[in-house]
């Protein structure tokens, strides 16, 4: 345990130093926000076995709430963040209470449909700016530190994400987390042992929604904007991919997955050109111009061949000394 703590501390220190070795703070903040988003999603899929296909609603919903609170109501940054998380949690209560009435594949379809409803709501509601989205959200300040400075914001976001990650780790390793795993592995048995399964599912759903909301609120601060792209179902799919690529049901997996997906989204064009010039096949360059196609391909490959994800496969390899 102490070893793990030491490693976490080292990673945290490395992240603190990153802006000084030439990394672009906004880019790392984007990765951090998505990593938090994916961790929140993984809490649900990885530990409770519930596949939500509507998590974009919480990310975008909280983003809009925070953006509106800061830009129009003039709340302070902390108040805006808290408000965003509360909105996401409230949405989580409603979505969760409805979705846990069915299980398995239906759960996924219901969450997707509810998120689509939220999408149309945000598209038509007067306060979201429709297709334009919310722009020029003021970042404000915290404890007198002006967050308009990217570096200051970076340390704030890093702090919040690190605390959230610690919180996830605590939840997963608590009796509550073990009860969730019991429900995932064998629901009838968990019921027969006296667990109120529905309550556990609802609580973890709300937790997951709230954390996803926190990610969305932070994201709205980082980019000073929220658009419909944050609530559309592609985003819900993207977070599934991040979790899958990194490793479902591992703490670190979603973080690695978010890193891979964000880097890929940004660099896919360059990768495509590189591969095209290396192999002489123009198809790679064409592929590089279409992020959805690449994401789709990775999705298929992951589901077909790589279901453990990076962290899962690595852990397996470390345990047994050979690849599966």
């Amino acid at each position: 345990m102490n070893k793990k703590f030491a490693i976490s501390l080292a990673v945290f220190a490395a992240l603190c130093a990153l802006p000084f070795v030439g990394a672009y703070p906004v880019f790392i903040m984007k990765i951090l926000c998505y990593a938090l988003f994916a961790c929140a999603f993984n809490l649900l899929l990885g530990y409770a076995g519930l596949l939500s296909f509507g998590h974009a609603a919480f990310l975008g919903g909280a983003g809009y709430a925070t953006g509106h609170a800061l830009a129009v109501w003039g709340m302070s940054t902390v108040q805006g963040l808290v408000f965003g998380v509360m909105v996401a949690a409230a949405m989580g209560v409603v979505f969760g209470a409805l979705a846990i009435r069915r299980s398995g594949i239906y759960f996924a379809m219901i969450t997707l449909a509810l998120a689509q409803m939220a999408y149309f709501f945000f598209m038509q509601a007067p306060f979201t700016g429709g297709e334009d989205g919310l722009q020029a959200i003021p970042r404000g300040s915290i404890l007198g530190i002006d967050l308009n400075n990217d570096l200051a914001l970076y340390y704030f976001v890093l702090m919040v994400c690190a605390l959230s990650f610690a919180f996830c780790s605590r939840v997963v390793n608590s009796p509550f987390g073990y009860a969730l795993r019991a429900i995932k592995e064998n629901e009838p048995r968990a019921i027969s042992l006296g667990y109120d399964v529905e309550r556990f599912k609802l609580i973890v759903f709300v937790l997951s929604a709230a954390l996803a909301g926190l990610a969305g609120s932070l994201k709205s601060l980082v980019f000073v904007s929220v658009t419909l792209a944050d609530v559309v179902w592609h985003m819900s799919g993207l977070v599934v991919l991040m979790t899958l690529i990194g490793g479902v049901g591992t703490l670190l997996g979603p973080v690695i997955g978010a890193l891979i997906v964000v880097v890929l989204e940004n660099k896919v064009g360059e990768f495509g050109q590189m591969l095209a010039s290396a192999t002489g096949w123009n198809g790679f360059e064409l592929l590089g111009q279409s992020v959805p196609m690449v994401i789709g391909l990775i999705f298929i490959v992951c589901v077909r061949l790589f279901r453990q994800g990076v962290v899962g496969e690595l852990a397996h390899w470390l345990r047994t000394g050979k690849s599966p």
Binding site: A113, Q116, L244, Q289, G296, R304
Partner: protein
């Protein structure tokens, strides 16, 4: 002029007809989803993408080769069916022994791939597809103007649904299908090639989606996102109706389509979301769905 709740009857009937058109798309698509889910235990996220593929094949046939609507109405579903069979044989087959969710995720990847492919070639804006000359124009019924093509779409879709219902419920082949759905191991023990049935069922299911894709081409614009917008609604339809019964899928699909049309008249802002609201109400009152078996 006759008015119903302050809406001229022409406008009302027009929207109901449009609702019936959308409803028949919902019916055929949810029917295909249900048949596939029954046998494969896979929710085919790519069903909407195959619908889009059908429409694009029709457009390509006309645009590049000058092949008429009528020929493509047959050829396009065949091509889509072949694409489906390749997907089933090549990828889905290997996932059957895993959690059902992996099938959903894999087909989601297929959606992104197909949509991305067509988007990178044809862009996001819709391509127009003309109504075939034999079905142009309309009939004046006195109280409303009835465009022939829309009538045609509803009639043909319903005929297709009815055909599938007869095939599954009344024929030897359908009996085999139902047997394989409820107990594949036992049917296989009788010497029946269940994997072949599975492949063909998937092929036929997506071919149906391709068929309505062609039907939809002259009504909707042919665009890469035409299927994705539809499939999420169809998922809600499936949740509302339950996947237990074929007639249930048809009735739910049509009913919701009409309801959506009526909402467009009386409460336009809610037209996009009314199906989802119904889903919420059904989940609260009858969680297994209208025609589903209570667990």
């Amino acid at each position: 002029m006759i008015q119903i709740f302050g809406i001229p009857i022409q406008a009302l009937m027009g929207q109901i007809l449009l609702g019936l058109v959308n409803g028949s798309f919902y019916a055929v698509l949810s029917l295909g989803l249900a048949v596939i889910f029954g046998l494969l235990n896979v929710i085919n996220f790519a069903h909407g993408a195959f619908f889009m593929l059908g429409a694009f094949f029709a457009w390509m046939g006309l645009h590049y080769l000058g092949v008429s609507y009528w020929v493509m109405l047959l050829v396009s579903p065949l091509l889509v069916g072949v694409a489906g069979i390749i997907l089933e044989r090549g990828l889905l087959r290997h996932l059957y022994q895993l959690d059902h969710l992996y099938g959903l995720l894999l087909t989601f990847g297929v959606v992104l791939l197909m949509e991305g492919f067509f988007r990178s070639i044809y862009g996001v804006s819709g391509l127009p597809y003309p109504v075939p000359s034999a079905l142009q124009g309309g009939i004046d019924l006195g109280f409303m103007y009835l465009p022939i093509y829309r009538l045609w779409v509803v009639v043909v879709s319903l005929a297709l649904c009815l055909g599938v219902w007869l095939l599954v419920e009344k024929t030897q082949l359908g009996a085999l299908l139902r047997a394989a759905t409820s107990n594949p191991k036992l049917v296989e023990a009788f010497g029946i090639n269940v994997p072949l049935i599975v492949t063909l069922t998937f092929g036929c299911g997506v071919a149906m989606a391709g068929f309505v894709g062609v039907l939809a081409a002259p009504i909707m614009q042919v665009s890469p996102s035409m299927g994705a917008n539809l499939i999420v609604v169809v998922f809600a339809v499936v949740v509302i109706g339950g996947m237990g019964s074929i007639l249930g899928s048809i009735v739910t699909g049509l009913g919701l389509g009409v309801l959506e049309g009526l909402t467009k008249v009386y409460w336009p802002e809610a037209a996009n979301t009314v199906v989802f609201m119904i889903m919420v109400i059904v989940l609260v009152l009858r969680p297994a769905g209208l025609f589903g078996k209570q667990a």
